[in-house]
Symmetry: C2
Subunit: 364 residues, 2 copies
Amino acid sequence: MTTDTIRVDRAALEDFCARVFQAHNLSEADATIAADVLVAADARGIPSHGVARLPRYVLGLATGLMLTDVEPEIVRETPTSLLVNARGAMGAPVSAHTMNSVIDKARQTGAAFGCIRDSNHFGIAGYYAMLALPADMLGIAMTNTAALGVPTFGREPFFGTNPLAFAAPADEEGAFVLDMATTVVTRGKVEVYDRAEKPLPEGWAVDAAGLAATDPTLILQNLTVQAGGGILPLGGLGELFSGHKGYGLAVMVDILCGVLAGSSFGADIADQAGSSARVSHFFGAIRIDTFRDPRAFRRDMDHLLRSLRSSPPAEGEERVYFAGLKEFEYEEACAREGIPLTPKVYAQLKETGAACEVAPPAVL
Amino acid sequence: MTTDTIRVDRAALEDFCARVFQAHNLSEADATIAADVLVAADARGIPSHGVARLPRYVLGLATGLMLTDVEPEIVRETPTSLLVNARGAMGAPVSAHTMNSVIDKARQTGAAFGCIRDSNHFGIAGYYAMLALPADMLGIAMTNTAALGVPTFGREPFFGTNPLAFAAPADEEGAFVLDMATTVVTRGKVEVYDRAEKPLPEGWAVDAAGLAATDPTLILQNLTVQAGGGILPLGGLGELFSGHKGYGLAVMVDILCGVLAGSSFGADIADQAGSSARVSHFFGAIRIDTFRDPRAFRRDMDHLLRSLRSSPPAEGEERVYFAGLKEFEYEEACAREGIPLTPKVYAQLKETGAACEVAPPAVL
C-alpha cells in the first residue's frame, strides 16, 4: 500500500454502506447484510469485490437493475433442498438468507442444498460458505456470472468466472476457505493489466479467433462488443496444462447454479446495456458430526493446515500458505489498523454518501 | 493407435478380469465389480487406469497389500451419511457398494454422502459419480492418493493427484462427466515423457528445491526416494496462472476424503515398499427432483451440452468438447470395434491369466 492509503474502521465502513443502501430503499435488515458482505471483501484483501463497487450497486438500485420492492419467493422446498426465485433483488441479502436456511435444514437432516435464480451479483462466494463454520458444517457456495470464459479449443465465451467456495472449520488454524474463480483469472485482473498498459501473460486469454492473445485492451473490447474471444479457464490454453479441467469446473458450477435452478446458463448470461445479467447461485452445508466428532475433525484440520503452513518454502519463496490463510491474516491486520482504501475509492464513497446525505466513515 | 493394436470384446475382457480376481480370492460379486471398473477405464479411453494395472492388482492381492478376507465395516451411519472402514480391502467393490448406498439414502432423503477409510486405489472416480445418473441424481466421487503434489511456493509433496468427479444427466447428449486430477497432470503423464525421453513442459513439476524442473527422470526419482519436489497443482507454478487454485482443490479433496473419514491425509499418505498407501474416498448424490423436474433438467442439459459441442472452434482446432464427450465417443467406438490394447498389455494379461489358469480374451 502506498503512503497515501486511507484507513477506516470496519464497523464504521459497514454502517456507512448500510445507511447508503437504506437510503436506496433496502430494508434495514437487508442493508446490514449487503454492507457486511461488501466490507468483508475489503477486510479479507479482495478489494475488487468490496466497497469500490458501492457506486455500481447504488446505480443498480437507483435504475432498477436490482429491485428493492420484491419479496424473494420459495419455488420448491424439501427437508434437504430449497429453490428460491430472487425476482431480480440484490444478491447478497437473499443469498445470506438462503444459506442460513440451508444450514438450518442441514441441522435437521445432516446435509442440505439451495439454489437461487433470477438474482444479481452476490459478492464474495467465500462469505456464504463460511456461514457454515460456526455450525460445525462444511460450507459450499457457487455462482454463475456473465459469460467471458472461452471453452478449451473454442473461440466464443460460454461461461463466467463461475467461482466456487468451500469452507471447513479448524481450531487454532481458523479454517480452510477456498474461494476461487474457475477461470485462470477474473476480468478485474485483465483490467489491472490494461490500466498498467502491460501485456497479459500468455495463457490468460484468447482473441476472437481463439488464439493466444496478450493485449488486455483488445480482450476487454472484444468482451464488451461480444466480438468473440475472452478469458481462458484455469489451466490455460488447450490441454497441455489441463485447461480442459478448469473448463469442466466452470461448466460444473453453471450446472449446479443455472441448470439446477431452472434459470439462464452458458452464453445466455450476459450483461446488456440497461439490464444486468440475472445470475444463479448454489449453496450447500454438510454436518461434520454425521461422519465424526467435530472436535476430532477440527483437531485434524489444525494438523493438516499447520503442516502446510510450516512446510519448507521453495528456493526464493518466503512461505507456504493454505487457502484462506492470507485472507485471515489480512483481516486481523484490518482489525488492528483499519481497512485500507485508496484515495480514489474513498472519494467515491464520499460522493456516493453525499448524494443521499450519509456522512462518510472517519479517516483513522 | 498403431496397426498392431489388439482388440478384444468388452464383455470377454470383463469376464477374464473377473475370473482372475476370483482366482485371487475375491468373491464372484466383488470380482465382477472390480473387473467392471477396471475395464470401464479402457473402454472410456483412460488406459492408464485400465487392465494395464491388472498385474499390479493381482500382486497386491497375492501379497496382502489388498486384503480379501475382510468385511468392510460401517463405522457411522445416518439417513444422509455413511462412513465405511474398508479395512484394507480392494477399493473398487467397497466403493461401488458405498456409492450405491449413498444413492439409496439420497432416494429417501434428497441428498446423501459417504466416506470410505483404509481403502485402496478405486480406479476411475467418474465410474462412481456416473452410478447416480440412472437415478436422476447428480453424482460426486473423490479420492485422495499418495502424496506427489507440491503446494504453491513449497518444495515437498503434500497431496496426491486427488481426483474429483462430478456427473450430471442429459438426454440426447448423454451426460456431463467431469473426472479430473487436481494436479496439472498425473504421475502417469510424467512417466510417458520419461519413456519418450522428452523434457516436461515447464509448469508441470518442480525439483527438490521447489524450482521449475523439466527432467522427467529426475522428478520420478525424487518422488521414489522422497527427496522433495514433485508435480504441480492445476494452474502450475506459483500464482501467476493460479496454481494456488489447483492446490486448494487438491486439499479440499483431501479434507472431504481423509479428514472427514478420520483417516490419513496429506504427506502421511505414501506408498512404501511392502505396503500400499491406505487411501480414503468421498461420494455424494443429490436428487435433481428436489429442485426441479428431472426431465426439464435433462432437456436444459441437452441444450447446454449441444451449445458447447457445436460452438465454433478456435483457428486450427477441429472441435469443442464438453467433459465426458470424448469418453462417450470412445466407448461407442469400443462397443463397435472392441477395446484396443497394446501388444504389451495383452501379453501381460496372458501371463497373468496363465499363472492362475484363466484363458485370455480372444483377439477380435
